[in-house]
C-alpha cells in the first residue's frame, strides 16, 4: 500500500475491499489495543521461552543474549505471558498514555 492508512479514500479501495497485497496484516499495529505492557526481569528469566510459546500474537522473540522480549508494535497486552511465566519474570505494567 503506497498510501498511509489514514490517507486512503473510498475511491482508492478495490472492488469489494479485496486485498491484493499479501501479508499486509503485518502493517496493522495491534499494539494500539494495549492498556498494559509486559516488563521482563532478566534476573528472574531462565530463558525457557514459555512466554513466546503461549503468546497468542506470536510477538515475543528471543534476542541475541537469549532473553525474551515482546514486540510492542503487535503486543495487545493480554498478560498471558505474565500468567504462564512460572519464575515470575514478567510483570504487567499499566501504559502511561
Amino acid at each position: 500500500m503506497t498510501k498511509r492508512e489514514n490517507e486512503i479514500t473510498w475511491k482508492d479501495l478495490n472492488i469489494g475491499c479485496i486485498v491484493t497485497e499479501p501479508g499486509n496484516a503485518r502493517q496493522y499495529r495491534t499494539g494500539d489495543w494495549r492498556s498494559e505492557k509486559p516488563i521482563f526481569d532478566k534476573d528472574r528469566c531462565i530463558k525457557c521461552g514459555l512466554c513466546s510459546i503461549f503468546c497468542p500474537e506470536g510477538c515475543i522473540e528471543q534476542n541475541t543474549e537469549g532473553y525474551f522480549e515482546a514486540n510492542l508494535f503487535y503486543c495487545k497486552g493480554c498478560g498471558i505471558c505474565a500468567r504462564e511465566c512460572w519464575p515470575q519474570a514478567i510483570t504487567m505494567v499499566e501504559e502511561e498514555e
Binding site: E5, W10, L13, N14, I15, G16, C17, I18, V19, Y28
Partner: protein, 390 residues
C-alpha cells in the same frame, strides 16, 4: 421466433437459469420456493444443465456456498423464501459488501409466528438494507425476463453486486402461465460470460472479506453506497437493451392509466395485476384513478417516484408488511422521498395482504375509496390495516 409455453412460474425460473447457463446453484428447499430448486436439481441431474448443484443443510450454508462460487467467477444462483431468507441474513450482507454478483429469486413469504407459508413482503423488508439490487415482478414473464437481466446487471463490471428478484409466493411461484422463452442464441448475445475482475486464484492470491478497522470501515461503506446508487444507470441500460432485443421494456417505476390521474394507488409485486382490474373498472365509471407499480426497490428510484406522483392529489400506498410500531415500510420511504417537494400529493398508508390474504379487485376499489376519504377527513392512525376483522 421465441417459444411460448404454458408452464409453472417456478419451473420457468429454472429454465431461465439454464438459458443463463449458470455454473453453480446452492440452495435449500423451502415452501414456496421449492419447485425452483427441485427443477434446477433435476436439470443438473439429467445432464441438461452443466452446473454444480450443491445441496446444503441450511440457507445460511446455501448463500455461503454461493459466496465461494461467485468469488471464483462462477455464475451463481440461489433461491429462498421467508424463514430461509431470515436464516441466511448475515450472509446476505456479506455478498453485497464483497461485491459478489449472485442472483437470488425470493419467493416472498410471511414470517413466523404464527407459521405462515403464504405470501407477503415481510421477508423482503427484513433484507431491505442489505445492499442488494432488488427487483419486483408481477407475473411469470416478468420473472423470467428479470432473472436474465439480474445476471447481466449484477455481473456488469461497473456494478458487481448481488441481485434479488422478488416474486410473490404462491401467487406467482405456483401458477401456470404462458411464457415466452427467448432463444438460446439471443440469451448468449444478451448475457456475455461472467468476467470476475479479481477472482480467487492460487496463481494470483487475494484476500476477500478481510478485517476492516475503524480507520477504513466508513470508506468501505461509502464505496458500497456509491456503487449501489450508480448501478441504476446500468439497470436502465440493461432493461433498454432487453426491450430492444425481446420487445418487453421495464422501468424502475411503471404506471397504469396514470395520465391525468388525481388519485394514485401504489403497489408492488403480483397484487399490481389485480389492482389493474379495479383501476379499469373505476376508469370505466369515469373516476380519475391510476396505478403506480414500484419495480425497482433498491436502489430506490427517488427521482422517478417524485416524477410519477407529482401531479396527483392523493397517493395511496399499499404495503404487504408492517414495520411494527411505525407503519408500512414502503409508504414510509415514499413519504421521505416526497417530504421536501413543493408539489406533492397527500399520502395515505394501508397495510394489507399479509400472510397470503387475498385482496380482490373489489377490495382494491374499496381501498381506493377509503383512501380518498382519509385524504379528506384525515386519520388518527399512521396507517390502516386493510381487510382485518374488527
Amino acid at each position: 421466433m421465441a417459444k411460448r409455453e404454458g408452464i409453472e412460474v417456478s419451473r420457468a425460473i429454472a429454465i431461465a437459469c439454464k438459458l443463463a447457463n449458470v455454473d453453480v446453484v446452492a440452495a435449500y428447499p423451502i415452501t414456496p420456493q421449492t419447485h425452483i430448486v427441485e427443477d434446477l436439481a433435476e436439470l443438473v441431474a439429467n445432464g441438461e444443465l452443466d452446473a454444480s448443484f450443491i445441496p446444503v443443510e441450511s440457507e445460511h450454508s446455501a448463500l455461503s456456498a454461493c459466496l465461494g462460487a461467485a468469488a471464483v467467477g462462477a455464475r451463481t444462483f440461489t433461491a429462498t423464501a421467508g424463514q430461509g431468507l431470515e436464516l441466511m441474513h448475515e450472509v446476505v450482507y456479506v455478498a453485497s459488501s464483497m461485491q459478489l454478483p449472485i442472483v437470488m429469486a425470493v419467493a416472498n413469504r410471511a414470517l413466523s409466528a404464527p407459521i405462515s407459508i403464504w405470501g407477503d413482503h415481510s421477508d423482503v423488508m427484513a433484507v431491505r438494507d442489505t445492499g442488494w439490487i432488488q427487483i419486483f415482478v408481477e407475473n411469470g414473464q416478468q420473472t423470467v425476463d428479470n432473472v436474465l437481466c439480474a445476471f447481466r446487471i449484477g455481473e456488469d463490471q461497473r456494478v458487481l453486486l448481488p441481485v434479488m428478484v422478488h416474486l410473490d409466493g404462491f401467487h406467482l411461484t405456483h401458477v401456470i402461465e404462458p411464457i415466452s422463452f427467448p432463444e438460446q442464441s439471443d440469451v448468449d448475445q444478451f448475457l456475455p460470460p461472467n468476467q470476475c475482475p479479481l477472482p480467487l486464484d492460487p496463481d494470483r492470491p487475494v484476500a476477500m472479506g478481510s478485517f476492516g478497522p475503524p480507520y477504513i470501515y466508513p470508506e468501505c461503506k461509502k464505496a458500497q453506497e456509491i456503487n449501489l446508487r450508480a448501478s441504476k444507470k446500468v439497470i436502465l441500460e440493461c432493461w433498454k437493451e432487453f426491450g430492444d432485443l425481446f420487445g418487453r421494456y421495464y422501468s424502475p417505476v411503471e404506471g397504469y392509466h396514470c395520465e391525468g390521474a388525481k388519485v394514485l394507488l401504489l403497489t408492488m409485486g403480483s397484487f399490481s395485476e389485480t389492482a389493474m382490474d379495479a383501476i379499469d373498472k373505476m376508469r370505466g365509471e369515469g373516476k380519475n384513478v391510476g396505478l403506480i407499480r414500484l419495480r425497482l426497490w433498491r436502489p430506490f428510484p427517488f427521482e422517478e417516484i417524485r416524477q410519477a406522483v407529482r401531479d396527483a392529489e392523493v397517493l395511496i400506498v399499499l404495503d404487504r408488511a408492517i414495520s411494527f410500531g411505525a407503519m408500512g415500510p414502503v409508504c414510509s420511504e415514499i413519504k421521505s422521498a416526497l417530504y421536501n417537494e413543493a408539489k406533492k400529493p397527500k399520502v395515505v398508508s394501508f397495510v394489507g395482504g399479509l400472510g397470503g390474504r387475498d385482496i380482490s379487485p373489489s377490495g382494491f376499489e374499496r381501498m381506493i375509496n377509503r383512501g380518498i376519504e382519509i385524504s379528506q377527513t384525515g386519520s388518527e392512525q399512521e396507517f390502516e390495516m386493510f381487510g382485518v376483522r374488527e
